[in-house]
Amino acid sequence: MTDTSPRPADPDHAALPMVSARAVRKAFGRLEVLKGIDLTVRRGEVLCLIGPSGSGKSTFLRCINHLEKIDGGELSVDGELVGYRQSGNRLYELKDTEVCAKRAEIGMVFQRFNLFPHLSVLDNVTSGPLWVRKAPSGKSKDRARQLLDRVGLADKVDSYPNQLSGGQQQRVAIARALAMDPKLMLFDEPTSALDPELVGDVLDVMRDLAVEGMTMIVVTHEMGFAREVGDTVVFMDGGVVVEQGDPTRVLTDPQHERTRSFLAKVL
């Protein structure tokens, strides 16, 4: 499958995994949501996270761009710790501005789209480059139009989000994330809030992204997508990774009882 495509300039860097988690723990109050997650995502890999609700999939995803702070373990993106800087044997918590700069390199797509309703579609897509990167307006708009064309919404640039269907909104949200040229894309149940007939358009856009070599982590209930597009499927339950591997193997021949009973319910 997609082996790490080595960049000739910096073979060491290219060999690093995009995301590496070691014994990551997270609790909300007394509720332990992540009980030691070990996971590696290679460059260009499409990793699908599946599992029952409450299993910690979304929380883990949100830890990767520091929307949630981890309580233990080690989590790094592109060879750098999330939320900390190591110097000698000390970990320094990152300042807000540093956290923001790192988040800007990771795209995230939410279940409920979270487009900015007071901005037009075009302004939604240019918001990141204009406000965070201080990119020139003309260039950002050209790029936004390109991206909207790519997700099939070139004719909706002047619409407002609430004039679009859920599927269209989600594709705008993907374009908005891509406008920051992210090195990693996180999808948090991107099709769960959509009418069934609108799911296909969103999955098509994600499939194209995967083909182009984008590193993606997708929390999903779309087993067809996981099997077809995913390089790896990870099954989580109760805050731990129960099983992971090749999608076809995990989905058709699961090794663990918990995976089997989950798949029996959703397939």
Partner: protein, 342 residues
Amino acid sequence: MTDQPGPPAADHRVEGDPSTLKVVPVRHPWRWVASAVILVLIAMLVNTLVFSHVQRGGVREGRFQWAVVGHYLFATPVLRGIVVTLELTVIAMVAGVLIGVLLAVMRLSPNRLMSGAAWVYIWFFRGTPILVQLFFWYLGISYLYPQLGIGVPFLTYLGINPPLTVASTTLATSFIAGAIGLSLNEGAYMSEIVRAGIISVDEGQAEAASSLGLSRGLTLRKVVLPQAMRVIIPPTGNETISMLKTTSLVSVIAGTDLFQATQNIANTTYQIVPLLLVASLWYLFFTSIMTVGQYYIERYYARGASRQLPPTPFQQLKASLGRTRVRPVPALADAPWVAPHD
């Protein structure tokens, strides 16, 4: 159609030719009674305002003395008073909104000292009457602090006095005391309005902004506050209208606002009621303008929140003049018994 004729009771369709039937709307007799009562009351009001006369000191004159009202409506002292009233309103509202945003952000801050300080401010300024606060700014300040100065705190204990000092009485004029009192009081109320607006914005918005790399400040300015405006604007309009009238309280600290200007005239001419009418007409005039202004601002911030913007008052007026009588619109436009429109 079936060949077997069913029982007549099962046939729900209209008897006879539907296109010739007349639709009788529901009658509302009590609406007519209520309308008659209102009309009589309007007639009484017009009569007493315009036509009725009264004996005062052996002289028969119009009850409301509109001629006197007209005489003073544009008098120079009254116009000067209007300027003061409008100035105080604008200053107090602009400062109030700024203080309100600052306090709202402080109250939502994770820092306990910040949110606590904001809470105490709101507690104090909402908990004491504005009238008392105005007296404090006008009289209390120069009593408590006869000299005001700018310097480093606590240095006076070492015998070092601030380089810039000024007598409080020269600073605490009735206008400045009024502006400060109204602004600080308004800030406390505005902060609660702004806070309600900020809370009303979905958390997902701030999350989406964070995921794009926006800082907390940028998120607030570019994403949260513009959406909070939809919730903030209507009560702020109320506050502004309320403030226009609250400024009349500065008359108790010798302010020369609209109300005090009319009172000054009334005190020399003894035409008390006509001058109360002068003040009332001007307050009504400005609140009316504000109401229309508020409508357009609300409409602007409704973008993206509602699919179709509500019609402007002028559009509504045009529409209601266009059709004098609303036709009953049937739920099923193509129901067979509805006569075609002529």
